[in-house]
């Protein structure tokens, strides 16, 4: 990553930025800090216009709303993957057409959207009115009738827990003529209608109060409840009808959807350009900016700058300087950058771990999934996906990585002799009455799990040692050789020593003299390592820190946990293989004959699909975990900021160079 500083003439700015955006390999730095220093502030000011950006943002939001509405009501199905359409500039501009037309169309559709919103509000209001009137359905007097010359007619509610019979009795005690009816009851309230003499009103209200009575409000509603409900129904119907009309308008507009999507992208590009110019400093006639450019693109960027008559400087940043990070790998390794991306990019002082762990990821994924059938399925689906959809970015990397992992799964399936579990023997026996057994190229882990367990731990040990080795490399690169010895090499000695001491005998079991030599070497290596760990700290540390080496030595126990963690390679491999066998066995229980065959196929398809998804997910997670926790734990810090070049960040179209005709 190189640092770039540029000064150019204001009149060249637009065309330069258009070209840089097209090229997309320059990241712009924020300049506001420079303006704090007096030297800069005196001659230059901030370029760009914040109002214009927010104006474009508002426009963008409107187009987006309109597009969402069209997608919601439109006839077209949503594609499975969002893919940018490739299109030539000429075609793009042709489709886009006149700016005013687009604005008018957006305005019209946005108006429809607002109407639709109003209709939704109306619908909600009507529905809540309906809900509030429903309990009164049994009340058949007009709502506006509040009484006659001598009588009050009222409606009201009391809590559901109140005793309505008691209320009736007490009301009758204080007045002679009254009618109290309970119209209905729900979980919260009881609904009452009351008629009483005006002369008794005060006494009755006193009684009602003790029951928590509250008068119902019907606002300005006229007519009976059922009339009102009918009216509301009509209103709702009309509202729905209008909504349908609006939905149809949006459906009709979906013909112009593509054009609006282009419009959306054109606004995004414009907005980003405006935003970028906020990163510039300018005087009356000139502008200045600085930023980052990847090493391999520097030459081309120079060409562009030269052609616009700019003054520029490209420098290599200092060793300690934080720069944005761009991972660059060959096409085999690039897909595995997914795993690095998902964790955290390496800081600019670290190395990119992807090329190193990608092989192990490939290996581990295959071991844990280990089935020829699943491997073919995974690789097939992923390669087909890559062929059919023009995926970009993370989605592309992920799918390609899974395709590679499918190959690994197939290879391990071949080694362990598994094809959809034990489908071949089962099917051949069931369908053709003759059992065909496929012999694994290596061995069957279900019958000899210990062998695979040991193999897993050895692979794990190698993985961990490589991680530790990278740490040594980084330390030595930065000139901290003693640290490298203390943190890495003495540990190598200790760990290799312990392994030889404990297992030296089983490497060549039939030669006792070799065993003795190995054990002896192991013993001394372990001693050298342990002494190194304790001793180096004692020499190099200060004060109480001298004793820390003893504590570090205790850290050897964590290696046991780390190595055993790789036993999941066996366990998950067993899980996917045995579950596959479970489904095969379930299907095979049906016996022989046509119906049994059909039943077997149904069970096998459903069962294997289930096993495939659950285990593919589990395998992905655990293969990642072994990198993140065990491998990265040995050396990796991460925390790099991704390189974010100034480019055309379009969502729907990808404008490609004019085709040569």
């Amino acid at each position: 990553m190189n640092r770039l500083s540029v000064i150019g003439l204001e009149e060249e700015k637009d065309s330069l930025f258009e070209e840089l955006m097209e090229f997309g390999a320059v990241e712009l730095n924020d300049q506001s800090e420079k303006l704090l220093s007096k030297e800069w502030a005196e001659i230059a000011g901030k370029d760009g216009c914040g109002d214009r950006v927010s104006e474009l943002d508002a426009k963008l939001a409107r187009v987006q709303t309109v597009l969402e509405m069209i997608e919601r009501f439109g006839a077209a199905k949503q594609p499975l993957f969002a893919v940018r359409k490739e299109i030539s500039r000429k075609k793009y501009e042709e489709t886009l057409g006149k700016q005013e037309d687009l604005e008018a169309e957006t305005g019209r559709l946005y108006g429809l959207y607002e109407q639709w919103n109003d209709e939704k509000t109306e619908e909600n209001m009507v529905r809540s009115l309906q809900a509030s009137l429903m309990p009164w359905a049994a009340y058949d007097l007009p709502l506006e009738l509040r009484g006659t010359r001598g009588v009050f007619i009222r409606c009201g509610v009391i809590p559901a827990v109140a005793d309505a019979e008691e209320l009736k009795r007490q009301v009758s005690e204080v007045s002679q003529e009254n009618v109290v009816t309970v119209l209905g009851k729900d979980q919260e309230q009881q609904y009452l209608s009351l008629m009483y003499m005006k002369s008794d009103a005060d006494k009755i209200l006193d009684v009602l109060k003790t029951f928590g009575y509250a008068e119902a409000q019907f606002k300005d509603m006229k007519g009976t409840v059922s009339e009102n409900l009918k009216k509301l129904d009509d209103r709702l119907e009309e509202c729905k009808w209008r909504q349908q009309k609006l939905a149809e308008s949006f459906r009709a507009a979906s013909a112009g959807k593509e054009r609006l999507q282009y419009y959306y992208d054109s606004i995004v590009v414009e907005r980003d350009k405006q935003k970028a110019s906020e990163q510039l400093l300018r005087t009356e006639k000139a502008f200045y900016f600085d930023g980052w450019v990847p090493q391999k693109c520097a030459g081309q960027v120079e060409e562009i700058l030269k052609s616009h008559g700019c003054w520029y400087e490209i420098t290599v940043p200092d060793k300690d300087e934080e720069t944005p990070v761009l991972l660059e790998n060959n096409s085999m390794v690039t897909p595995f950058e997914t795993i690095t991306d998902l964790y955290s990019l390496p800081s600019s002082k670290e190395i990119d771990p992807t090329p190193i762990f990608s092989f192990f990821y490939f290996l581990f994924f295959g071991m844990m999934f280990a089935d020829m059938g699943y491997g073919i399925l995974l690789a097939g689906v992923c390669f087909a996906g890559l062929k059919m959809f023009k995926l970009e970015g993370l989605a592309y990397k992920l799918v390609k990585m899974l395709a590679f992992c499918g190959i690994s799964t197939f290879i391990w399936g071949l080694l362990f002799g598994s094809f959809f579990g034990n489908m071949i023997p089962i099917v051949s026996e069931m369908f053709f009455g003759k059992e065909i057994v496929i012999t694994p190229l290596w061995f069957d882990p279900i019958s000899d799990p210990m062998k695979l367990l040991i193999f897993s731990c050895i692979i794990g040990g190698i993985h961990l040692f490589i991680g530790l080795g990278i740490k040594a490399y980084l330390l030595i690169r930065d000139g901290q050789v003693l640290d490298a010895v203390e943190d890495v090499f003495v540990w190598y000695a200790l760990l290799i020593g312990i392994v030889l001491l404990l297992f030296g005998g089983s490497i060549v079991p039939d030669k006792p003299d070799v065993t003795q030599v190995l054990t002896e070497v192991g013993k001394w290596l372990a001693i050298v390592g342990a002494v190194g760990i304790v001793g180096l700290r004692a020499v190099r540390g200060k004060g109480i820190g001298r004793a820390v080496g003893l504590w570090n030595l205790y850290g050897a126990t964590s290696w046991l946990g780390d190595v055993l963690s790789y036993s999941r390679l066996l366990a998950l491999g067993l899980a996917s293989a045995v579950i596959a066998q479970v489904f095969n066995a379930l299907g095979a229980m049906l016996g022989h004959g046509i119906i049994a065959v059909i039943g077997f196929i149904v069970i096998a398809v459903i069962g294997h699909a289930f096993n495939f998804f659950i285990n593919a997910l589990g395998t992905f997670v655990h293969a990642s975990r072994l990198q993140y926790v065990e491998f990265f734990g040995k050396f990796y810090e991460g925390g790099g900021t991704p390189f974010e070049p100034f480019k055309k960040n379009t969502k729907y179209v990808k404008i490609v160079k004019e085709e040569k005709s």
Partner: protein
């Protein structure tokens, strides 16, 4: 049917009990996921991935139960004559995956529920949520391994 066979079947039953934990775990995660989806339906895929994680313990349990039942001939074939010691041994095989499965799946359910909340706020951090879940899963995997090694060591 003799005592040994009955004991072995109990072992299979204990192994399958891991499904209790998975049920609860997946349930906890599902509740959290539904809450997130209410705000942003586009996260359905991501939350589903996390919700599926505590489901594996139940599968490990099923696996072990199936293996035990196959070994004693309860699935297609004739039941083997087991001594009661052998039956007890097979019962013990079911315990690690069953018991560890129950508790680890519940704990994992809570962890991924928190992970689901994490992606509600920071959609880019799905991987980290998954790794936290995978940390819990380790112990279920180890218990499956032990159950399997125990199971594999006995020849009837």
């Amino acid at each position: 049917m003799n005592l040994g066979l009955a004991l072995a079947v109990i072992g299979a039953a204990i192994a399958a009990l891991a499904g209790v934990g998975s049920g609860i775990g997946v349930g906890i995660a599902g509740e959290a996921a539904a809450g997130v989806i209410a705000e942003d339906p586009k996260k359905f895929g991501q939350t589903l991935v996390l919700q599926a994680l505590p489901g594996t313990q139940g599968i490990y349990g099923l696996l072990m139960a199936f293996l035990i039942l196959t070994k004693i001939g309860m699935l297609g074939g004739s039941p083997v004559d087991l001594t009661w010691t052998q039956g007890l041994y097979l019962l013990a095989c079911g315990i690690p995956v069953g018991v560890v499965g129950i508790f680890s799946a519940i704990a994992q359910g809570k962890t991924v529920a928190a992970g689901i909340m994490l992606i509600a706020k920071r959609p880019g951090e799905l991987a980290k949520g998954m790794i936290y879940g995978a940390m819990v899963e380790t112990y279920a995997v180890l218990s499956l391994l032990i159950s399997f090694l125990m199971y594999n060591a006995i020849q009837l």
